[in-house]
Amino acid sequence: MAGKTKVMVASAAALTLGLTAACGGGSDDNKGDNNSSTNGASFNAAATQVVNASDKKGGTLNLWSPQDADSFDPAISYYAWTIDMNRLYSRTLMTYTPKPGKDGLILSPDLAQAAPEVSADGKTYTFKLKSGIKFDDGSPITSKDIKYGIERIFAQDVLPNGPLYLMQELDGGQKYPGPYKDKDPNKLGLKTVETPDDSTIVFHLQAANANFPYELALPGGSPIPQKRDTGDKYALKPASSGPYMFESVQPGKGATLVKNPNWDPATDPNRKQLPDKIVLTITTNADDMDARLIAGTADLDASQSGVQTQARTQILTNDKLKQTAYNPNNGFIRYAALATTVAPLDNAECRKAVIYASDPTTLQTARGGPIAGGDIATNMLPPNILGSDPKYDPYGRAQGKPQIDKAKAALQACGKPTGFSTKIAVRNNKPAEVATATALQAALKAVGINADIFQYDGKDVGTVVGSPSVVKAKGLGIMISGWGADFPTGYGYLAPIAMGKFIAPSGNYNLPEINDPAINDLFTKGLSEKDANAAADDYKQANEKVMEGDYFVPFVFDKALNYYNPRLTNVYFHQGLAMVDFASLGVSDGK
């Protein structure tokens, strides 16, 4: 259980950083034909198909980002876009299939010859490596390099902030301190990972876990040559196993990648090597970046966080610009959590009053409107996850208006007919979240619920709303939040925010502190199902139970409006990466 809690905290961190490793969009406009491609761009085409399919080589791909990379060290990279960048130079045993639509959620062999051999008890995974795989310096990639790469994740004092899934999965009670403090002469002292020969690697897990291959597909599972490891400086010159290698890395400014001559396309069906060069430029001026995208001097916002308000207006009011813009669901839901420990919201009727009094349309507008903000959310499972149903709308939110009568009736039932006072907690560094907080505040006022806005520092998420004792002491009845899963399953999405065992003294993301045995049982059942559809049905029921408990006010199924340079080829939104697949991109004009 302690281990699970840590897994959850890790995904909480992913959320804090505003990213998600594995979740995607598409939703209902995903009309089956996933593998189609087109050469004529039209609005949102890239969300469901490959736009401008081409094998034209040459030129420079100009990526820009208004946000600095967390790190290019595969053990640390955790932003969705640096994970995507990693695919250019870090190969893993398995990786997401490079296809639009739901096919992208499936893993394909990468360095491994084939999918792993799993023991009957589900605890032992054996991979065989391909032959002819090499690092950028020409030396062969062996199973020991992969083991060493995974061991580095354990060195949290030197390489902090990365995802910890593999560390928690593979420690097995050894308390392995990482290779830098390893007493083994070869620095390969992690006992749960065996390398019987250079092309075989065996993992021993404590318990069966169907998510394990997904964990290995994170950059932390990529090979790292021990002789080139420079500890916390490794991010400045990472070795390459993929189609591109770093020419230079300048933290806070950008990076340049060039073709890796030792990458053999015959061993790698998942990536292309089209541009001669990939230049990443970090800027502090997001408006300037948007202007460059529109002018064509930048090709793509690598962070994929969506264009700024002014550029949004410019793009949406210009048909030509609109053609190469897209806004798929990104797997996040924005919502307010209602604390069950704060009176009078400990009474479900009072929570119901908040839900009915909220105005779905002002909340949607505050998030950026239907195109750049997202669709009005009706329940707590995002559309890209099996078992979700956007039409399931128990509170009638899709019609877009507050329901004052129902809210007043709920207040009556709660014993507070004239309303009550509470607080709305919101991070101060997210303008859109503050905007939703004020929108909610204004709507609640109409039924006599007076909510003060309590702003806190964004970095303190884990110790303010993430601390049940603080929530109770400060009376934070309503907490503005957002959530995206690291793995695209109902368990991965909903359990951390609605399952009793995830309630933690700090870094908590089960904000309402839901601990309903019926809900808990459904999650446990779902995890043990062999069939994905059966599991999906469990999660569907869990979602319904969560909605019936009146714990959340869902705002929107999140979307971001992004724009790409029309000269880009092979553009498509990858659901597994939750963004455009960088490793497929090329430029059509060869410049």
Partner: protein, 335 residues
């Protein structure tokens, strides 16, 4: 000038009277039989520009006081959402010039459709309260420490002077941001709005006092050696009496001028802090905060930027005009 970097420190040099002026004023008083106050008032009345500034200030104060009534008559509650006035896709106000219409005389805010007129009027309340109270605080501290330093002299003077020098060499804007952002959002049982006003007053007022303190100290130093002070001392008057009955009235003119001139700077500082995101918390309005919100929209909804910007400009200009006039009126050398 209370807050360093991007407000020029320079104005203090042109600021108030030196002792020669005070002396000559005393002389005029004897000849004409009119008090300094009367002379200054006559001069001020003749200065049409200064009077204009004064009238604008009075109007603004009046508006701030009757804000609730004004909003009842001409506006909507400052935190009321009007989504029907907003284009849902773009978040921009419907209609021309940021949604200006008969019902919304200054238009509506993008995204939420709140009435800009109401928010400007409430913003005036906040801005003027912060500006006046912090100027008051600076003056009290400045007079207290400046007079003590100048009058007592010796080690007290060197300590106070050192502290003033030190505060002036301090990256003040940064410190204000840091202090404001860590102080608790509510205190003394006040709501979030007035608690933050209090914090702003304390921080802006505190960093402003050395500017007044230095002037007062200099004036006190020179007054201390004057005949009338000596005379009073030889008659057996004690220090407090000399300080408050003899010297303070002579310091009144520069103090008044200086306090007036520090108000516009305080307005700019308050707006700057709100612009940088540490001012009045939402949903309460402030002009600087509105400008900061306008950052996202100024290209397609310029009125949302121009209206609060113009309000800051007009208010600061009015105070500057009035302060300049007051200084000229109290300083005979200017003629």
């Amino acid at each position: 000038m209370s807050l360093g970097p991007e407000a020029p420190i320079s104005d203090e040099i042109v600021a108030p009277t030196d002792d020669a002026a005070v002396e000559r004023t005393a002389g005029e008083k004897a000849i004409a039989g009119r008090s300094l106050r009367q002379i200054a008032w006559r001069r001020l009345k003749k200065d049409r520009v200064a009077v204009g500034g004064g009238i604008v200030i009075l109007v603004l104060i009046f508006i701030a006081i009757i804000a609730p009534l004004l909003i009842k008559l001409f506006g909507h509650p400052f935190d009321e959402y009007h989504n029907e006035k907003i284009d849902p896709t773009l978040g921009l106000p419907l209609g021309h010039l940021g949604g200006i219409s008969k019902d919304y005389i200054l238009g509506v805010e993008p995204v939420n459709g709140r009435d800009i007129f109401s928010r400007i009027v409430y913003g005036a309340q906040t801005t003027l309260t912060v500006a006046f109270l912090s100027a008051f605080l600076s003056t009290i501290l400045g007079v207290l420490f400046g007079m003590t330093a100048g009058f007592v002299g010796g080690w007290v003077d060197s300590i106070v002077s050192r502290i003033m020098d030190f505060l002036l060499a301090f990256p003040q804007l940064l410190f204000s941001i840091a202090l404001v952002s860590v102080l608790p959002p509510t205190s003394f049982g006040l709501g979030p709005r007035w608690s933050r006003v209090l914090v702003l007053v304390a921080v802006i007022g505190f960093f402003g006092w050395p500017y007044i303190g230095r002037i007062v100290r200099g004036q006190t130093l020179s007054l201390r050696e004057r005949e009338f002070v000596e005379a009073s001392r030889s008659l057996g008057a004690r220090s407090p009496r000399i300080l408050f009955r003899e010297m303070l009235p002579n310091l009144a003119a520069p103090i008044l001028v200086y306090t007036t001139l520090i108000i516009p700077t305080n307005i700019l500082t308050e707006a700057a802090l709100s612009f940088l995101g540490v001012g009045i918390p939402p949903p309460y309005p402030s002009w600087g905060g509105m400008l900061s919100d306008a950052l996202q929209f100024y290209r397609y909804d310029p009125m949302f930027m121009i209206i609060p910007g113009a309000m800051i400009f007009i208010t600061v200009l009015a105070f500057n005009l009035f302060g300049d006039g007051l200084r000229d009126a109290l300083d005979p050398k200017a003629h």
